[in-house]
């Protein structure tokens, strides 16, 4: 009789242990694959003169107007550096990624900051289900209003973030190129979240971008700019060898 109780207890204990083990393992996040892939780098250039960027008058928000008194800001539809480099272009792999590489979610948690009544960065790349954080570094309240396509898988939301409030953590469910983000309180604030599968890169002030962790293979690369549209290019990536791709956008 005693033995039966003992065996029963052992069985329950083992079952519980197994359940706990399975539960713990399931909570562990899938880490990105170790950097076995190569990188794609390149430069985005603008051909022609950038369209006129209008100055932004922030006088309705004196705290932000004061920040930019010395160096006024303009709209950021087309941001070209002195050397013709085009900023804020998102480059990603639109075709050719295998299933597992396509569904990998980057582990970094980029920050979408509101500073001086502007979105920093102006354009952010993301994977579906990749967490990002919205922070407010201004003394004024902001209201983050991303506007994905109506009726699509990504849902519109609209939240205020008072000064000093904790960061807002969120994700996007599905790829979308691109989600426009507004601040309702400050109508000039504008930015884009570009949600794509697989690795991506965003060009900087000089127009340079870098996409990391690309497994070897042949792909279609797409470069997206918020007003100048998209451009595509075929590329082949060999194991361990960095590949390059340049894009040139024509100013409209």
């Amino acid at each position: 009789m005693k033995k039966q109780i003992w065996y029963r207890g052992l069985a329950i204990f083992s079952a519980a242990l197994t359940l706990i083990f399975v539960f713990v393992m399931s909570q562990r996040e899938v880490k990105a694959a170790p950097a076995s892939g190569a990188s794609i780098t390149g430069t985005i250039k603008l051909e022609g003169t950038a369209p006129h960027q209008r100055p932004i008058d922030m006088s309705k928000e004196p705290a932000c107007a004061a920040v930019h008194k010395a160096s006024p800001v303009t709209t950021e539809n087309v941001v070209a550096g002195s050397g013709g480099g085009l900023k804020n272009v998102v480059v990603y792999i639109s075709e050719g990624l295998s299933g597992s590489a396509e569904n990998e979610v980057a582990s970094s948690k980029p920050v979408w900051d509101q500073k001086g009544c502007q979105y920093i960065p102006h354009v952010m790349g993301l994977n579906p289900n990749q967490h990002f954080e919205v922070t407010n570094s201004d003394p004024t309240s902001h209201n983050i209003h991303p506007m994905p396509k109506p009726g699509g898988p990504n849902h519109e939301w609209n939240k205020s973030q008072p000064s000093g409030a904790p960061p807002i953590d969120n994700t996007w469910q599905a790829p979308e190129v691109a989600i426009h983000v507004k601040c309702n309180i400050h109508p000039w604030m504008s930015g884009y979240m570009v949600v794509v599968k697989g690795p991506y890169g965003v060009s900087d002030d000089s127009g340079s971008f870098k996409i990391e962790n690309v497994p070897p293979g042949s792909y279609m690369l797409t470069a997206w700019q918020e007003t100048l549209g998209t451009q595509t290019q075929k590329i082949t990536v060999a194991a361990g060898k960095p590949a390059t791709a340049d894009f040139t956008f024509k100013a409209k």
Binding site: R54, P55, I56, D57, M58, S59, K60, E61, T75, N77, T140, S141, N143, S160, H180, K182, N184, I185, H186, P187, W188, S190, T227
Partner: protein, 267 residues
């Protein structure tokens, strides 16, 4: 306890009147040509209403003092004149007040709403939208180009939905985030709303008018003092209502000319 209530009533009544009489919290100085009529009306009403307020509270207090805590079996008396006298007094008092205030009050209202703007008034268009006011000046051609609301793109600073390429009248229109006006010049303000109801309120100018989506409304006024004044939204329009404001800059004519020229370069 009746006596205590009587005293409290009188104290509260007088304490309430003190800030008014002492002018502790008053409207900001009037900078408009028509505002003095509103201020006079306000002042007259304050005196009449104040007298009624104090009289009612104090008489209430006095009567409570006199007639509470009486000995049991005390004789019950009736107010002299009874109800008839009081009804008559109410009709006369209020009737007179209504007539006086109504008759004189019409003038202030008429000045704002029943007079047309002067022929040489400076037209300024204001668009109210969640949550900012933007202004448009017609530019040297004196004409406003047509609006295309479906092309509004705030990220590109096309606030009004103008098509400068297609519409020649829009080419020289000047869109600003602040409203600059020259001093002592009549302004004809053309108002429309982009999305929901808003309101245009400048305390110092003594003007206020709702924006009603679908309606083109207008106001006219003349500012008489140089300075920087707040234009605030007073019609609940959403979460940013508290932060919906712009600044009215009243400038000398030369300063205004320089300002509008500088704004034209920022288009």
């Amino acid at each position: 306890m009746g006596k205590l209530l009587a005293v409290t009533l009188v104290v509260i009544a007088i304490a309430s009147a003190v800030p008014i009489v002492a002018h502790i919290w008053v409207p900001p100085a009037d900078i408009s040509t028509h505002g003095y009529q509103i201020d006079e009306q306000l002042s007259d009403t304050m005196v009449e209403a104040g007298i009624c307020f104090l009289a009612a509270q104090i008489v209430l207090g006095v009567f409570i003092w006199m007639f509470s805590g009486r000995k049991p079996g005390a004789r019950v008396r009736t107010f002299p004149g009874g109800a008839k006298g009081l009804v008559g007094a109410a009709f006369v008092l209020v009737g007179l007040e209504v007539l006086i205030l109504g008759a004189f009050g019409k003038k202030a209202w008429a000045t704002i709403y029943f007079t047309a703007p002067a022929a040489d008034a400076l037209p300024v268009q204001v668009q109210a939208g969640q949550f900012a006011f933007y202004f448009r000046y017609p530019g040297p051609d004196g004409k406003f180009g047509p609006l295309h609301p479906e092309t509004i793109n705030e990220a590109n600073q096309n606030i009004f939905g103008l098509d400068v390429d297609a519409d020649k009248d829009s080419k020289d229109d000047i869109v600003t985030a602040e409203m600059g006006v020259p001093i002592n010049k009549e302004i004809h303000l053309l108002m429309h709303a982009k999305d929901v109801g808003h309101s245009f309120y400048v305390r110092e100018l003594r003007i206020q008018q709702d924006f009603v989506p679908g309606l083109d409304l207008s106001l006219h006024f003349t500012a008489t003092k140089v300075g920087r004044y707040e234009i605030v939204c007073t019609q609940l329009c959403g979460l940013g209502h508290y932060n919906m404001k712009a600044y009215l800059n009243v400038m000398s004519q030369p300063d205004y000319d320089a300002w509008i020229k500088q704004q034209a370069t920022m288009q």
